[in-house]
Subunit: 182 residues, 2 copies
DNA sequence: GTCTATATAATGATAGAC
DNA sequence: GTCTATCATTATATAGAC
């Protein structure tokens, strides 16, 4: 880092550390001290730039849910692309840092859940509606399936999913997404 | 309570308070003091009877995941019964205290996640395999769908699911479970 | 712009009295 | 069998120095 006193750079460093920490450990699983240390500053600056832990989390959600990690933008192969990306990114050795993990690991906190709901509806559902042309409930069910699969395979670590044949998993998921999104 | 000094009754009261508290707030969202107070005792007795907060959680998971709240036992109407129970129990006004909520709200904690994985594989997946006759991966995907739907409709509160027509939701879910479990 | 130091509250767990 | 009292740690957030 060139400038040790650069408000914009410091703010950005805290935000990036926040994305990493909240995604890895969830809202309740990490403290502002830890986030600040990862950004190379003290905890005081987190509150200075973001008001509070909750304020930082809100910005983290905003930048995270605008990323596209599973939902593609090609309507013709949508079901297959989602299924393949989902199986690939939830593989046991993948160790991804995905926005869906941020949702799954922070949802237990009521305030975090409300922030997540707003971000998901504003960005993720909106994007999925535009790309797929499916109905709003069907898009929401598809998102539920993605979240649930991510939860069971990565966060819980169900051996029925971690040890399953990946091609078979992909085929079955593609079949389900085909019903929901076409 | 008849006896103010009854080890078995006290232990049972703490366990029941633990089920309620962990299901409502998740592993990290509740303290042993709060659980003890709900059981009418002091925090010290939680550790006395269960060793630690983690020990209590392990027993809570064990009694919770043996409950059957969504998965029925009638193979012929399985897909419909699951879909209907899922939509009914996740209704906005339902305010249920369901084992799936215990999973969703506690999964962020790594130790809790491992305890949950063991309980799910030993009881829930095993039961679902016996009832449905489906393959192990298909059963696991069905469980993922149930968890994801519960997460998005109840914990996150996605309006796309809370405001959707319940009959339409049920029909669509039944279609998906029919593929997975028959 | 960033720090040290601190206020205040809550956490999980334990010692020892009765 | 259950309590009070307490330890050690951690949490978020703030005051004031430089």
């Amino acid at each position: 880092m060139v400038h040790r006193r650069d408000a914009a750079a410091t703010r950005e460093a805290i935000l990036r550390a926040g994305v990493e920490a909240f995604t890895r450990a969830g809202y309740d699983g990490v403290g502002v001290r830890e986030i600040a240390a990862a950004a190379g500053v003290t905890a005081m600056l987190v509150n200075r730039y973001f008001g509070s832990k909750e304020g930082l989390f809100a910005e983290v959600v905003d930048v995270s849910v605008t990323e596209r990690t599973v939902l593609g933008s090609e309507p013709r192969t949508l079901a297959h692309d989602i299924a393949a990306a989902l199986v690939r990114r939830t593989a046991p050795a993948a160790d991804t840092l995905d926005p869906f993990l941020l949702v799954l690991r922070s949802a237990a906190n009521p305030r975090a859940a409300e922030i997540l709901r707003a971000g998901i509806e504003k960005h993720v559902e909106k994007h999925a509606l535009e790309v797929s042309g499916a109905s709003r409930p069907d898009v929401a069910i598809a998102l539920a399936l993605i979240n649930g699969f991510w939860l069971m395979r990565t966060v819980i670590g169900s051996t029925a999913l971690t040890e399953a044949d990946e091609a078979a998993l992909t085929d079955r998921l593609e079949q389900l997404f085909h019903i929901l999104l076409t």
